[in-house]
Amino acid sequence: MKAVVIGCGRVGSAVALRLAEDGWEVTCVDEDEDSLKRLGNWRGGFVVGHALEATVLDAAGLADADAAVVATDGDNTNVVIGQVAQRRYGIGCVVVRLLDPRRAAFYEKLGLRTVCPTQTAISFLTEAVKACEPRPVATAEPG
């Protein structure tokens, strides 16, 4: 199975490594050549360039990829690339990282598979507070 990971930051590079470990053939795309360093001893593909450019997506082999992961640091860039991967390249499995929960919900409705770490944090934090058992806290004696 082939995957293209667009945006090779903390998230993208880790996803690429995990997929590669599981036997996927992975190509990463990033504007910054230095992000290759995050991948260590990388045996997969790596393309330097902006993923809105058709030549970059072609070079990454998006045309015959089974999956695309889009995780650049720009939400708007991600939704555009995600939709291009889906509609122009016909990739059935496109997963897009979005930081803004409302945009994530909106594009989920439009048919993109979105992952929103902010929403996850909101849910976990809220649940953690609700489920909170007060713990005894050492306080300074009023002197």
């Binding site: 809105l52 450019e53 058709a54 720009g74 939400d75 708007n76 860039t77 939704v79 555009v80 939709q83 291009v84 509609r87 122009r88 803004d100 409302r102 945009r103 909106f106 439009l110």
Partner: protein
């Protein structure tokens, strides 16, 4: 009309000024604080500070009314594209016009159904080509929604159309001559119009027929 203008750069601020002078109701959204301060000084409460790709900012700007038109002229190409998409698909705004900076991104706007775009780069390139025609055919106007375009062709002494009547030309189906300009004076092309070397001919056609039209007229 009620309009939201996203992006208070040169285009956004000048358009807002003109729209207000025409008596329209406008909300101008600008993210950058320094720019916002300057705009607020000129336009007052018409200006709102925020990132227009955030839905709560658009809602404060009144996108739920909804506006008659959203004009997205902010930032990199993906920002206006997302603003136009959210406006149309999320809030039922009937018309959204988006600015394209890099003509190579036009395909993304087309793909995502943002059909009304303005690209200054393409426009200027068109004008340059008009002055320095390379292939004898210059695009003057693209009617994207109608699926038509208007082109101009330069007739020379070697052109197959030179010396012929318009009615006697074999043009591809889907192309028609509109006018013939000779010595700077344009006339509507009719069947009897004779084409001469040195003429500029304007034609309307379906995209994709450019080469066949060029072969028929210019060679």
């Amino acid at each position: 009309m009620y309009l939201i203008v996203a992006g208070g750069g040169k285009v956004g601020s000048n358009v807002t000024r003109s729209l207000l002078a025409m008596g329209h109701e406008v909300t101008l959204v600008e993210q950058r604080r320094d720019r916002f301060d300057r705009l607020e000084e000129e336009f007052g409460p018409v200006v709102l500070q925020g990132d227009a790709t955030e839905m709560y900012v658009l809602e404060r700007a009144g996108i739920e009314r909804p506006p008659d038109l959203v004009l997205a002229v902010t930032g990199d190409d993906e920002d206006p594209l997302v603003i136009a998409q959210i406006a149309k698909e999320g809030y039922g705004v009937a018309k959204a016009i988006a600015r394209v900076n890099d003509p190579r991104n036009q395909q993304h706007f087309d793909l995502l159904g943002i059909t009304q775009t303005v690209c200054a780069t393409s426009g200027i390139l068109g004008l340059v080509e008009h002055e320095v025609p390379q292939h004898g055919l210059v695009k003057l106007l693209e009617l994207r929604q109608e699926g038509l375009e208007v082109v101009e062709l330069q007739i020379t002494g070697d052109s197959p159309a030179a010396g012929k009547r318009v009615a006697g030309l074999s043009l591809p189906d889907g192309a028609r001559l509109v006018s013939v300009t000779r010595h700077g004076v344009g006339e509507i092309a009719v069947g009897e119009t004779v084409i001469r070397p040195g003429d500029q001919v304007i034609a309307i056609l379906k995209p994709g027929l450019e080469d066949r039209l060029r072969r028929a007229l210019v060679g």
